[in-house]
Amino acid sequence: MLPTRTLFEFWGQLWGTTSPLQEPEGITPKIRLIVEDFTPSLDLTLASLELAADADFQREPFITASEDVQHGVDPVNGDKRIDLGGSQDNLHFTFDSNVSAIGKTAYGTALLGNGDVLLGTHKFAQPIAITRTKQLIDLVDHGFRLPTSMVR
């Protein structure tokens, strides 16, 4: 059965603004770098990913905040968008990398919810080698896309 666009978009809104993607104030989903090659899949587990260590950075890299999950519709293709992070500052973050991070390669990101439960993964188009401290990795347009063609 095909839903109406109104219903489909409401489903996306409901999903994006409900736990675990949006938690009560004070519980902040985190985005961490993945430093080993991987293939995004619905069935990935946290244990199958190698994340950058806390010690690799001077401050823990995270961008999303509970109040910052936003949703809307892509004007080009009608996809329902769930956008993580709501401010310019949150959409860019600098890895103040320590020496231990140098030599690692970032292949993508992992979204971790409450209790560090893996919620999703994103693979960069190109791996990013960490070669120095304070390296900027741009995470603009980070979130989920729900194409209207996914429902029938």
Partner: protein
Amino acid sequence: MKPTRTLAQTLASLAAADTANLANVSANKIALIGANFTPSLDRVLADLTLLSGNGLDPIALTAGAQNEGTDPTTGEAVIDLKEPAGGLRWETSGGLAVEKQIHGYALINNAGTVLLGMQRVDPPISLTVDNQVHVAPELTFKLDLNMIT
């Protein structure tokens, strides 16, 4: 971003339990669509010709949260609408004088003012006399969770 299956599946479970729409306390209804149409996300109730009378009135589903699970063959998340006791069964009656055709099913709210979804019957089914029976197949929404990026 590719969600985990656990997260993705919550899309269906939340939709199935959403009291504003599918799980409304006032049971939604299935109406028969009596004229040709093309299913579209942008279809509205006024676009459709719904059948009524002669035993063809909309039938109320079971109110509350709808069933939800995973298709074991395709892996799709499935929301299957809860049929009422007696099923989604229509039987022509009352002296059907003019041929009526079933072109599809419309999921509408209880008041019959909001279209929530639609499904086509192809080829259409002609009803020409009394005592003809039509039973709807299982009506579901299927969500391909693999398409979330």
